[in-house]
Symmetry: C2
């Protein structure tokens, strides 16, 4: 039997080391040639959450856990479901009213048990109550309650700082600005800490400004930043951008701290401008992103228009999640480019020289 | 104006350098600890075709083309649509009766004009006629007719050989067996040539056996291999595995040649065994693959049962496409793991210790 001698494969699916690509169309349109995208959408389950989930499942395995409770608006759920499947853990996943069906389907396909909780979503008090309840129940079962947030799983969140390490190594320089979508706020926090670690170790000589982008319908961090406050009061969320509906302070105060420390800003953008960014990424850059993953690009556009990005600045936008994560949004962006049904005898008469609808 | 001095960014989305991961559950179940998966699903548009499309679009750009005609059963189409968007080319994409809606949607989202051609699919003569027609019309317009096949675009197909280079470099050794899904046959051909290039350059001391896996409902290469022939007669395809419905010889004869030369085999597997492989990849390994992308794993299982894979053998299965590419298939695999709707007051009473349905 060779079995006994084979080590359990590490819980990894090859997450991280995602592409960093230079912008084409958008860089030209906005007159900012130093624009880059970090494609976290190319992680195995389609979002940056894989970096977190891999670390978290390894920690749960090491602690001898057999199952966990988890809460997610979507991407953490599919990531955790995948890595739990790989690590042999059972995943009980609680999702919100707004979690898109495609993300639920993905988590179910990996074998997670998914529960959609009525009233868990837009309303900050109800959502906080469900989180508290899940935390308590997990405690009763002596298992972890997994949320991709410093507030719950700080150690695994630090793994997201690898994004900043990769960025510097791929670019060969430190960017001037980094734009990050803000839901809970943990990603921005981790990205900033990643840069600080490099700086503290003397591996980079300067630090970027890190900017948080939120939909104007869920402006928790933006409100606080505009008031120059460190408190993040709840809001009633009205945005339709799945993944950025986090109506109360999860890691918002930490993200604010990072923004202040880096000299960054908090930017609010309309849902429409996020969908427009999703469209230009897709049709102009060839990058298939979900709306939440495009928010950084909408925020960058807003910053250029507001005049605080110089032509010579070098900028990275984090594209956090893949287009397949939210096909309803893709459906609406593709609506004006319909599929045509043809019979072979009609093909020769098609007008191929017609200009592309950009 | 800084515009003029900025070089057009190369047409790349960071394709390639995909993860290679060790198997957990399946390696144990089948008693073959040296099993690995190469996750081509982690390419930017979700399949190995990105390596081809990037090269092809760069070549079209260099030749000054403004648009192209292309034919695809799905994954080439979305890849080409993405890289054409990035390269500023218009893509007219002709798809078959069976191309899944999700792949069509993805191509439309990138701005490609997609045409579904009636009668372009299962029937080998009708399909070959449409290909010939498209080739002629493209010629009339003096633009390329792009198909991911040596028969049409040999130079860009060679790019797929990078998969073999990466595999050897990631493993640190040459595997004994490589299992490759066979649709047209070009991927297997390119993978084999990749190994031969390394061998010819003295970078590896031995060669793997390369095996082709087809659904038993589309056994073009399998039939020829069983007859020890070099001819690939057409079949009427009855498989439901999108992407592997190629009922006539595109690169089948080349793939056969590669199989003979490497000492490999051609393996037929049922649609059901492909769906079962998709399921074990997903729930057991945490790998979200489309059915066509799981065929290599079904073929490997068949080979183990047939007795021609030794316990000590080291094996790589190419996982060629992401689960989001064909959500109808994911839907059916997730059917026995339904989403549950709960109200907060019911959560504490849930039975979390229940065994996982594997």
């Amino acid at each position: 039997m060779i079995f006994g001698t084979v080590a359990t494969p590490t819980v990894t699916l090859g997450e991280g080391n995602t592409p960093l690509v230079a912008s084409g169309v958008l860089a030209r349109q906005l007159g900012r040639p130093g624009l880059y995208f970090k494609l976290e959408s190319c992680n195995p389950t389609g979002s940056f959450k894989d970096r977190f989930a891999a670390a978290e499942v390894r920690a749960m395995q090491a602690a001898g856990h057999r199952f966990c409770l988890a809460s997610s608006s979507g991407n953490t759920g599919s990531a955790l479901a995948a890595y739990c499947a790989r690590g042999g853990l059972r995943c009980h996943l609680f999702v919100t009213d707004e979690t898109p069906e495609d993300k639920v389907l993905q988590a179910r396909a990996y074998g997670a048990q998914v529960y959609r909780v009525a009233g868990y979503g837009n309303d900050p008090r109800a959502a906080a109550d469900v989180d508290a309840l899940l935390l308590r129940i997990a405690g009763d079962h002596k298992v972890p309650f997994v949320v991709s947030a410093y507030r719950y799983c700080a150690e695994s969140m630090e793994q997201l700082g690898t994004i900043s390490h990769e960025m510097v190594s791929q670019l060969g320089f430190v960017p001037d600005h980094v734009f990050v979508p803000v839901g809970g706020g943990g990603l921005l926090t981790a990205a900033w800490r990643g840069f600080k670690t490099l700086h503290g170790a003397g591996r980079i000589g300067r630090l970027p400004r890190v900017h948080g982008v939120q939909p104007s319908g869920n402006p928790t961090v933006v409100n606080a930043w505009q008031a120059r406050s460190r408190d993040v009061p709840p809001v009633v969320s009205t945005t339709r951008i799945s993944g950025l509906i986090v109506p109360f302070d999860v890691d918002g105060a930490l993200a604010l701290e990072a923004i202040y420390e880096s000299g960054g800003r908090a930017v609010a953008v309309s849902d429409e401008s996020i969908w427009a960014a999703q469209r230009v990424l897709s049709t102009g850059e060839g990058i298939y992103a979900e709306p939440a993953g495009s928010a950084s690009v909408a925020g960058f556009g807003e910053a250029v228009r507001a005049g605080w990005i110089a032509e010579s600045n070098r900028v990275v936008c984090l594209v956090t999640g893949h287009g397949f994560k939210d096909l309803r949004s893709v459906d609406s962006l593709a609506r004006d480019n319909p599929l045509r049904l043809v019979t072979p005898d009609r093909i020769a008469a098609l007008d191929f020289d017609a200009a592309a609808p950009r």
